[in-house]
């Protein structure tokens, strides 16, 4: 086709389009978008559909959700996961905030200390499993200490104590992540605020609550969100320490999902995923909303 057969205006518009941002964006996004759609968006849409079908390609029904919500193992998994998050996140956030506040003052070897706090984050869980077993086994080190003090030994991983062990492992693992975020937040608070407070003779407590914690609030929202999301990953530790069939008190959502995958119950697994996605979206929405409200209140 000769170029003069195309109307000039059209060809000029085409030429402009080929040089525009939108055209380049399509090209640059193509690989990512294709894979993202193929492995995430499209199949997630499919699992939403599946969750409303009685069998693959069947008619619309809510029975999957009903069965799911009534099933005792789902209830156990959901309530364990929920209570684990509810207990462990406040503990983790409080401890890491304290550590960050301490680290942000004058201390020796600060960089070494920070490295030490962050290191657990990069150590693969699997390579530390043995240490948790050595500590919390029936014949483990903790029981040895208890025995020495004349106390009864506990079967830590096979009793209600198991949840406590998992909280400990979760805090150990994630403390560094939160300390990094808190330290960045602390360093963003302008020094002048403290200087002015000093001139006005404010007490340390007043400075802590009036300046530090107030201006740290946006960071705290972020830390809480990340801690909640990381708390869903604790299955890793649970699985590695306690295996596929842990004590009832640490039977988590992921254990339930794994069992459903194994029995190829795609309807159930889809409904569970959709419910969980909804919960996360609500959580994110609520957190962002409260943060925005807080910000407008500050200004």
């Amino acid at each position: 086709m000769k170029s003069d057969t195309i109307p000039k205006a059209f060809s000029r518009r085409m030429a402009r389009f080929f040089r525009s941002d939108a055209f380049s964006a399509i090209g640059l996004l193509a690989p990512s978008l294709a894979g993202f759609a193929l492995f995430y968006l499209i199949p997630f849409g499919q699992s939403v559909l599946t969750s409303f079908q009685d069998r693959l390609g069947g008619s619309f029904t809510l029975s999957n959700y009903k069965e799911l919500l009534l099933s005792s193992s789902f209830q156990k998994a959901a309530s364990n996961t929920f209570s684990f998050t509810a207990v462990s996140v406040p503990i983790l956030v409080a401890i890491s905030l304290l550590l960050a506040l301490l680290l942000n003052q004058r201390v020796f070897i600060r960089n070494w200390l920070r490295t030490a706090y962050v290191l657990p984050l990069v150590v693969p869980v699997a390579s530390i499993v043995l240490v948790w077993q050595i500590l919390f086994d029936w014949n483990g080190a903790l029981n040895a200490v208890l025995q020495q003090f004349g106390l009864d030994r506990q079967d830590w991983m096979k009793s209600n104590w198991a949840g406590f062990v998992i909280v400990l492992v979760y805090v150990w693992k994630n403390i560094g992540y939160n300390v990094i975020l808190f330290l960045a937040g602390l360093q963003n608070i302008p020094d002048q605020y403290y200087e002015i407070a000093n001139l006005e003779g404010a007490s340390s407590a007043r400075k802590l609550f009036g300046i530090t914690l107030t201006y740290l609030t946006p960071t705290t929202f972020l830390v809480v969100l990340m801690s909640v999301l990381n708390s869903f990953k604790v299955f890793r530790e649970t699985y590695l320490v306690a295996g596929a069939y842990p004590h009832d008190s640490i039977y988590m959502m992921q254990h339930y999902m794994n069992n459903m995958f194994l029995s190829l119950d795609i309807q159930k697994v889809s409904s569970a995923a959709v419910l969980m996605a909804l919960c996360i979206m609500v959580l994110v929405f609520v957190l962002f909303r409260t943060e925005r409200m807080f910000r407008s209140y500050m200004e």
Binding site: G35, L99, I134, V284
Partner: protein, 285 residues
């Protein structure tokens, strides 16, 4: 004068105490990896046994420094190296693939304007926030349809297209001042040219951060291989290590050290990028 450093000293001592508690599991693993197998069995052999009243004996200093475990792991038992290789052969393609895909897409999201940009990015963001319990379901459905189950591809492909890299690099791209790009456009540079010669050098720290964070994440993976790989021989070392105490307790400390070393060394040499990456991956609304 003295009062000036008493408080920092006390604070430092407290922080050092906490740090040593946190490092304890790592130190114990490394120290014990230099014990002989016989020592290990004598001190820890009663783990998981109910027919004994003996307790484990925490050993901080080996009676005898030996490389016997390492010899066993690295030379006599090819199985460990084989599983180590399984981990490498899944993690490396994911890192390279995701970095390449993400550089292109992050530039588009961060520096080009096109209709639907915010909405599309929101989808990426929400997907990134979803836990495994949600994302593994679509991953599984697609892997099943493509016949990839029980093949490393079922882990590598979703890994390559996971949205985290796009999100993180976009954060770095946003920091590039638009005037650089405008100037290059004036000089007649095309988008690809701008990406390669201007954006890429400026987001190098971002790419470094992405590589470290992805390595941490995938070197550690447990959820995906458990569901996608039925074959024990295809599993990465992480899953294998979970049931190690039953059969090969004697060498398990050395295996653990071999497994954590690449991660720890990478972290210590790229700590700056790692920390910057975490700070910027904070989702700011």
């Amino acid at each position: 004068m003295i009062k000036g450093w008493v408080a920092p000293l006390l604070r430092s001592l407290l922080l050092i105490l906490i740090a040593s508690l946190l490092l304890m599991p790592v130190v114990l693993t490394v120290v014990n990896s230099f014990m002989t197998e016989r020592d290990i069995m004598a001190n820890y052999g009663m783990l998981g046994k109910t027919d004994t009243s003996l307790f484990v004996n925490l050993k901080w200093i080996p009676d005898w420094v030996s490389f016997q475990q390492y010899g066993e792991v690295l030379i006599s038992t090819p199985k460990f190296l084989y599983l180590f290789w399984n981990s490498v052969s899944m993690v490396v393609p994911i890192i390279i693939g995701q970095a390449l895909v993400a550089i292109l897409a992050a530039f588009a999201f961060g520096k080009l304007s096109f209709p639907g940009r915010e909405g599309l990015f929101f989808l990426y963001l929400m997907t990134m926030l979803m836990p495994f319990q949600v994302t593994l379901v679509p991953n599984y459905l697609m892997a099943d349809r493509l016949g990839l189950l029980n093949h490393p591809g079922s882990i590598i492909l979703p890994g390559v297209f996971a949205p985290f890299g796009v999100f993180l690099l976009r954060q770095f791209m946003l920091h590039i001042h638009s005037s650089y790009i405008e100037a290059a456009k004036m000089d007649g540079a095309g988008t690809l040219r701008i990406l390669v010669s201007i954006a890429l050098p400026m987001v190098k720290p971002g790419i470094a951060a992405l590589v470290v964070l992805l390595f941490v994440d995938y070197w550690n993976m447990v959820e995906q291989p458990l569901i996608f790989l039925q074959d024990a021989a295809k599993q990465p070392l992480s899953v294998f290590l979970s049931h190690i105490q039953d059969d090969v307790l004697g060498v398990s400390f050395a295996v653990s050290v071999v497994y954590m070393m690449p991660m720890v060394l990478l972290f210590l040499s790229a700590e700056r990028y790692f920390i910057e990456g975490i700070q910027l991956s904070g989702v700011k609304g």
